[in-house]
């Protein structure tokens, strides 16, 4: 939360002017949407008659009722304490979202028949590709960061060239370059290693900056104390600096992992059967791509939510350790 003031003003939504504006804007918007041929129209049947024939009047009436319900809902939520507010708004948004997907008329039997394969094959592949890549990227990043901070011109040039190049190209292009380009040099690599290599190099370049910042954040007194005791560079880095930089490095690395989980979908172009690939292909025969895309979207979302919970725990853990 932002730094809260000690003086608490009334919630904006409890001001009559704001309420009136909400009703008015809602009325216009909901009327324009023409909701009388939806489930809302059905509820309005006693007032507007047959929804399909109610025309402009039906739309206006439905719009007014919905905007009033909406405003009352908002005003009521305004009375709740903070946590309850968050909870209720979350639930309402989620319900709206599900209703939105439900309105597509999806074939749930089909989804049920495919979802297990999407998880066992797709999620598994997505996760292991991302996990291997993030580990390799961290190793690349350590070397990148040390090279970038080094006073050796070669190391510095190579590291800055590397980060500049891989941060400057779209990841999809890197996937293609590695998959199609490396064989021209005589190294034929399969789709999965090519994907891992591309993700590693790209994320390694971004994470080089994270590691660099982490290493630089350590007080120079730590270097002096180590040096005064006769520790060499590698020892100081390994045992003194990196362990202290980890609390600063791990939380953003977790964020990178969550981002990578989604970016790993790009390796589907080279034929890796991960989640995105399956989302695009499983529904193909029966023309059920919408089903598969939405299922995959939900799976991605759930995955990232789980990972975000883990991430916030990691962050909390390191926050308590470092202070």
């Amino acid at each position: 939360m932002l730094f809260a003031d000690t003086v608490v003003p009334d919630p904006a939504v409890h001001k009559p002017k704001v309420m009136a504006i909400m009703v008015a804007v809602g009325f216009v918007l909901f009327s324009l949407m023409g909701l009388n041929d939806t489930i809302f129209g059905e509820f309005m049947r006693p007032v507007i008659g047959e929804p399909k024939e109610s025309g402009l009047f039906g739309n206006l009436a439905t719009g007014l009722v919905i905007s009033i319900i909406f405003t009352i809902n908002v005003v009521l939520i305004g009375f709740l304490p903070f946590r309850a507010q968050v909870f209720v708004v979350w639930i309402e948004l989620l319900a709206l979202f599900l209703a939105f997907f439900y309105s597509f008329g999806l074939d749930f039997t089909f989804i049920r028949s495919k979802v297990w394969f999407m998880i066992s094959q797709g999620v598994f592949t997505t996760l292991y590709i991302s996990a291997i890549s993030i580990i390799l990227a961290s190793i690349v990043a350590i070397f990148g960061a040390v090279a970038k901070l080094s006073s050796n011109g070669f190391a510095n040039a190579i590291a800055t060239f590397y980060t500049s190049f891989f941060r400057g190209l779209p990841l999809l292009m890197q996937v293609y370059l590695i998959y199609l380009g490396l064989p021209q040099l005589g190294y034929v690599i399969d789709a999965v290693p090519a994907g891992i290599l591309a993700l590693t190099l790209c994320y390694g370049a971004y994470m080089t900056e994270i590691f660099r910042a982490g290493i630089q954040s350590i007080n120079k007194g730590q270097w002096e104390a180590s040096r005064a005791m006769g520790f060499k560079f590698g020892l100081t880095m390994r045992r003194i600096i990196l362990p202290q930089a980890m609390p600063l490095i791990i939380p953003p690395t977790g964020n990178q992992f969550i981002a990578m989980l989604k970016d790993s979908s790009l390796v589907s172009v080279i034929g890796v059967w991960e989640l995105m690939f399956l989302a695009r292909t499983l529904g193909n025969k029966d023309f059920k791509h919408m089903e598969m895309l939405i299922t995959a979207a939900m799976i991605y979302w759930c995955l990232t939510m789980v990972l975000e919970v883990i991430q916030s725990r990691i962050e909390r853990h390191y926050r308590t350790v470092s202070h």
Binding site: Q121, P183, V188, V269, I270, R280, T281, N284, F287, H289
Partner: protein, 277 residues
């Protein structure tokens, strides 16, 4: 200094040896026979030719043809699913041995790939939205027309299609438009067309069997006019292995003459597409 130069020379030689090794005659066939397995590249997004079936396995006409080819070679079959543009780009470097992916042997593709045999022909047709007013192809001139990218259908729209295979009837360009739209695959074009006439596109060019499969799955589309061209569809291999080429040509010839291909065509399309007319 001397040592490092020597290492450099060694490394360069190794790289050159590896990169040229692809071109040796008989190499692909030897590799297949030695491994006892034929790696076939095919699109997983191209029902009913090739797709992932209810058991989550590769299935379809192309897949059945590939299984039969492997059987006659006396080896196992294995499928890989790189995207279409990667398959057609050639230079596979031994990642896979063969493409059985309903590929049209165009002149530009022949620069990087060899086509051992044409195994069937599909009519390419134009589809429009069910509720659209079009009655003839000529009415679509200047309209927004979609096709999958790097496909013969797109080349047809670009008036740049040269088909160089036996038994293909001549065709002429019946559509002229500047407003072409490229799609990842044919299904994506159908998905845009189903939204309504002109919402995103007015028409699409695609393979007739695929369009018909879509219509069967309640896509609000209809086929407009007769097929615009027949595309011969061939097996493709990387350039340079004539033995493999001849072997595959022989196998497909046998499959044609003993009726295997016809049977597979009728199984998947209900029509014998192995002859063009």
């Amino acid at each position: 200094m001397k040592l490092s130069r020597r290492i450099f020379t060694l490394a360069t030689t190794a790289v050159l040896a590896l990169s040229t090794s692809v071109a040796f005659a008989g190499e692909a066939l030897d590799r297949v026979m030695a491994a006892g397995s034929l790696k076939v590249a095919t699109d997983a997004n191209w029902a009913p030719q090739s797709f992932i079936n209810d058991d989550n396995k590769m299935d379809g006409f192309d897949v059945d043809v590939a299984r039969e080819v492997a059987k006659r070679l006396g080896v196992e079959v294995e499928f890989v699913t790189p995207s279409w543009d990667i398959i057609t780009a050639g230079r596979w470097n031994g990642r896979w041995d063969l493409s059985i992916g309903s590929m049209t042997p165009t002149k530009s593709r022949a620069k990087v790939l060899s086509f051992p045999a044409v195994y069937y022909y599909t009519p390419a047709s134009v589809a429009v939205h069910k509720d659209s007013p079009y009655k003839t192809l000529a009415e679509l001139n200047g309209a927004k027309i979609g096709a999958s990218t790097a496909s013969t259908f797109e080349l047809y729209l670009q008036h740049d299609l040269t088909i160089d295979a036996e038994g293909v009837p001549a065709f002429e360009y019946q559509l002229t438009t500047d407003q072409r739209k490229s799609y990842k695959d044919g299904t994506a074009a159908m998905d845009d067309l189903r939204l309504g006439d002109g919402v995103r596109i007015n028409a699409m060019v695609g393979s007739l069997p695929a369009i018909q499969a879509g219509i069967k799955s309640n896509y609000p589309l209809r086929v407009l006019g007769d097929p615009v061209f027949y595309e011969p569809l061939a097996l493709a291999i990387d350039k340079g292995d004539t033995e493999f080429n001849d072997k595959l040509a022989g196998i497909v010839g046998d499959m044609k003459s003993d009726g295997t291909l016809t049977a597979l065509s009728i199984k998947w399309y209900g029509i014998d597409y192995t002859i063009s007319n």
